[in-house]
Symmetry: C2
């Protein structure tokens, strides 16, 4: 029944095929209705129309503080011909209109004298009277079926006489983690083992949209055990989610299991990440929809959004929640393979009045790309991509006001930026410092193109021995309106395994035969530094094994050394400490922030300049090791 | 200490004054931090930065199904010079890279022969290898302090080695309802009594933004009892909300109580509705912020949004949740008093490619204006209002996609539209039929101005005896591209108290001396019908007592008769039944839907045309009484 390859069905069509398969198999179209007290109905979906049982207000009442009168008795009253009333009643706002009276006069317009009220203007009937039913009339339609109840809705229902409401019960989602290598969160992990973070995430996604979620024990990569777990889960679920094994590899049993326990409607959708998705049903009384989610975390999260969330909303009889969207200028060219919807995570920032979208890493395994994303940009299956600078539509994961208050730094990455981001946020929850790592040169180009507020740079000019400044004229042209603020001085050196087993002492050792080096990408300041140091000793880069192997971050270099994939690489001391490596100092360099002069007074950046002056911040940075704050905050251009 | 009048402090300034007063009184700036398991941390706010404790993935792994090889051994492989490998390992996606291997070749590119793998292309080192730390590197900053955790965030934290997270505990809100006339929800209400719907709403608003909420018993309008309740609540709360009594009337004790138990920072803000707000603190160890909310429900709800929500977010150390916004074309002129921010509730609809905003009733007591609102339009204190057709910014209360799928009907209201709205929604949760009642003539003008899809009309032309059609040329000019679809025939008649105590038999009785009539507004079809019927018997409108008294709906007329404010009014039978009134038939009239011919094929309207053909729908309408569906769905122009 199951094919060895996964197909590429468009997402919209996959949803319809699954929906029809569920209907054909006898899955209930809606979860049951339950009757709950109004106070417990918030967030739930109405299972029937709500008609007002009584009017609100239920009586005529005073809309002002003052006196209730008979309007007819005020006829003829004017400044020169005041009318004196014996018959009136003092009322406060909200008081029922006493029987026999039909208007209210504000207390500011009444003069009391000898127990009588002096009126200097005639009033029409029903002046300042709040009528019965002004808000809600009995028998009026208050809410339709399929409405997700908000606080104001339940209050209005209660005002209209409802004590209980008929709503859909919460859909129940049962999540089944599978995989021989998967361990519960908190368990010690042996090499090759992975913590079950997907169940945690999917359960939280289900709860977030108003469902109940339960996760079963982890099931081994065994078709019989998976089959048993699926049958068991389906008996108690409105939707079963089976994690991993949804592709067509040796240990991918999901499609086969689903075909065996019910019907396999879809295997593979034209969505990336997320491609190997299984959609089907589990036979039973009633039958139950099942979703096979890929094990890569970004795929799992998006699969929930694209397939589970609409299915669960339909079970409640409600429209799925929708993300707000905005348009943004694309920071760089974005290629996309024809044939699949490409869900690209982007960072957003407001630079010079424009919202700019910068694509994040696109790997299905890079969950931090979702964590750091401010929005999702979907490149439809029929589109090859977008040009740099193109206006694109982005679904928002973070509020636009937040995004407008975000300091956008693109360029070389340094741990000090992370420390600054944390300190800024701790002081004021409204401030975000978002930094993207593309190397020093990439950052300067991004600044030139209006994509960021700040470019972090430590580019050495070999000709002059100066850092960063000589590059500015080349990239921005002469006399550009640029400011340069020193963030920190830092040590660069060789990251080596603990104990420095090869006894490396400096750059000259890198040409040793058999030594495996790991380099940084072109445009990275650390790479320029290496080339400069090699030039000083007249060493030929081609003699270094691994010179052409590139990592994009200090931490990436450190990770390669820690994993034994390389013997050494050039990087900062903080990266060495992160992976428990030793450090052989090579050079001390300045790390600077480049920005437009006009941005110096930008409100958004003000908190950063204040932070750089703070003693506690500088102390925290120097405590990291390998840093000096002697010139921190100094404007050097 | 307290003034007899409330002031008009701008909202932004009131927030700052309150914040400073809280700080001065010793209110804690943040709620305490607590350590919770990652699974329970979703929705909570980080109380410290989260740094990665381990890398994810924690090992190099295969990124494809295939074989692990030593890249060096593939050098020279090509189509014409294949290389045969003895030394390889079969791997699936996600498997750890076996020791000694440094690249993966996809299984599609491997030919197995005699236990050896034939390779026809050289591969570089680390091809299809997912590196240690690709997602997260140990010691990397994962999340800053003050971040509200989403499902992807907790999953990433768990992947980075976190089992527990340090987050802010939920702020505790204690709500104190006050008022002699207030009764618990569900209690029988004597005349003049009001159900305590505000506590329900405010508690739900607090829970919605992540707080815990508790409501005390209802407290009488007595300063001593209120004082005791406030002291008691403050001992257990991060914010106390005292409902009603916040103005300066006889029973308004909030300002006085707050001044007595702590400090009164603000009494009265320049926000409408919401003006009489009290902001202050309750002394104690520590002190507690207190908000005195007005008793009008719209004021109470907005006061929470404007003052309580930002204060509670600050206690969590997070940015307040933010509503998405859009721009819309204003349907009609909107006047606003200078001096106060005016929070106007609007309906939104997409008509002819444009999002159109129609202001809803602005009374502080009309909670249904919030229930029915799709957005909030704030007219700032310094602005006098907006012109019709002006582009305005609207904060969204409903998703734009929902709004785009909404059928917008403006004009005369009929219960059949409510029945249709319910039936459409029950069939498809994605469909909304929103109808606004402005009378038949107002509806036709709205259609002319591009503000709605449909205008409901039952306008009689006295000259011809024809309904609606003769008006179209007058309003739209000759040969306008209009279609008219019959919705229903319905009976109009006199609504009279049960038993018809005055023995009314028809329109001629309305001129009886002393009889109190209640009329509909100018432009309402029912008013035109009255005038026509009066003309037929040559009766002078000025002889009818109450002719100039206007209600805007059938239900409003029925409510006036039911409350004894009028003896009779002209309306539909359904309105009589709603208020338990008797009905004296006067005329049978057609009620039609007018629309642009181009809109006939609009996707948005298709479900309505289908509904009108359905037998069950027609049966349901005729069961209401006073309706005939003999011509329902027929196009009469």
């Amino acid at each position: 029944m199951t094919s060895p390859f996964v197909s590429d069905i468009p997402a919209e069509r996959a949803r319809l095929v699954w929906r029809d398969a569920c209907a054909a198999a006898g899955c209930p179209p809606r979860v049951d209705a339950v009757v709950v007290p109004v106070a417990e109905a918030v967030g739930r979906v109405t299972a029937e129309s709500v008609w007002a049982r009584r009017s609100s207000p239920a009586f005529d009442s005073a809309a002002m503080d003052g006196i209730a009168v008979r309007a007819a008795e005020t006829v003829g009253a004017a400044e020169t011909t005041p009318v004196l009333l014996d018959d009136f009643a003092v009322v406060d706002t909200g008081d029922p209109l006493p029987a026999g009276y039909d208007a209210v006069i504000m207390r500011e317009h009444v003069h009391h004298a000898d127990g009588r009220a002096e009126i200097r203007a005639a009033v029409p009937p029903y002046q300042h009277v709040r009528s019965i039913g002004e808000d809600i009339s009995a028998t009026e339609l208050l809410l339709p079926e399929g409405h997700r109840l908000r606080p104001v809705d339940v209050a209005a229902c209660a005002a209209a006489g409802a004590v209980e409401l008929r709503v859909r019960r919460r859909p129940r989602v049962v999540i089944i983690p599978t995989g021989d290598e998967i361990r519960p969160i908190g368990a010690d992990l042996a090499p090759g083992e992975i913590a079950d973070t997907n169940s945690l995430m999917l359960a939280a996604q289900a709860v977030e949209i108003g469902c109940e979620a339960r996760t079963t024990d982890i099931v081994a990569d065994d078709p019989d055990q998976i089959t048993a777990a699926v049958r068991d889960a389906a008996a108690d679920a409105d939707l079963v989610i089976l994690i991993a094994g949804s592709s067509a590899g040796r240990d991918d049993h999901t499609a086969g299991v689903v075909a065996a326990v019910g019907s396999l409607a879809v295997h593979g959708v034209a969505v990336r990440p997320g491609h190997p998705v299984v959609l089907g049903t589990v036979a039973g009384d009633p039958a139950t929809p099942i979703l096979g989610a890929p094990g890569y975390p970004v795929s799992a999260a998006l699969t929930f959004d694209i397939f589970a969330a609409p299915a669960l909303a339909a079970l409640e009889g409600a429209a799925p929640r929708e993300r707000p969207s905005t348009t943004a200028r694309l920071a760089r060219k974005l290629a996309s393979a024809i044939g699949s919807d490409d869900w690209v995570r982007v960072r957003l920032g407001r630079v010079g009045g424009d919202v700019v979208a910068t694509p994040l890493p696109r790997g299905a395994g890079v969950l931090t790309s979702l964590v750091r994303a401010d929005g999702l940009l979907v490149v439809p299956a029929g589109v090859e991509g977008h040009h740099a600078g193109e206006q694109v539509r982005v679904d928002l994961l973070r509020g636009l006001a937040d995004i407008r208050r975000t300091i956008v730094a693109i360029g070389s990455h340094d741990l000090v930026l992370d420390v600054a981001a944390s300190a800024l946020r701790a002081a004021d929850p409204l401030i975000t410092l978002a930094s993207s790592n593309v190397g020093s040169l990439g950052g300067l180009v991004a600044l030139r193109d209006g994509l960021c507020h700040l470019a972090g740079s430590h580019l050495l000019d070999p000709a002059t021995g100066e850092y960063t400044l000589p590059y500015l004229d080349r990239i921005f042209g002469p006399d550009a309106d640029l400011a340069v603020v020193r963030l920190v001085h830092r040590d660069q050196g060789l990251l080596v395994p603990p104990g420095n087993p090869l006894g490396l002492t400096g750059i000259a050792d890198l040409t040793r035969p058999g030594l495996r080096y790991v380099n940084r990408q072109r445009g990275a300041g650390t790479r320029v530094l290496l080339d400069h140091e090699l030039g000083r000793i007249a060493a030929d880069p081609s003699t270094i094994s691994g010179y052409s192997r590139e990592e994009h971050t200090h931490l990436g270099v450190a990770a390669a050394v820690a994993a034994g994939r390389a013997d050494t690489g050039l990087g900062i001391q903080a990266a060495a400490r992160a992976f428990g490596l030793d450090f052989v100092p090579v050079a001390r360099e300045p790390y600077d922030l480049v920005l437009r002069t006009t941005a110096l007074d930008d409100q958004v950046l003000a908190p950063l300049w204040e932070l750089l002056e703070r003693h506690e911040f500088r102390a925290e940075v120097e405590k990291l090791g390998g840093y000096s704050c002697a010139e921190t905050g100094r404007r050097i251009r």
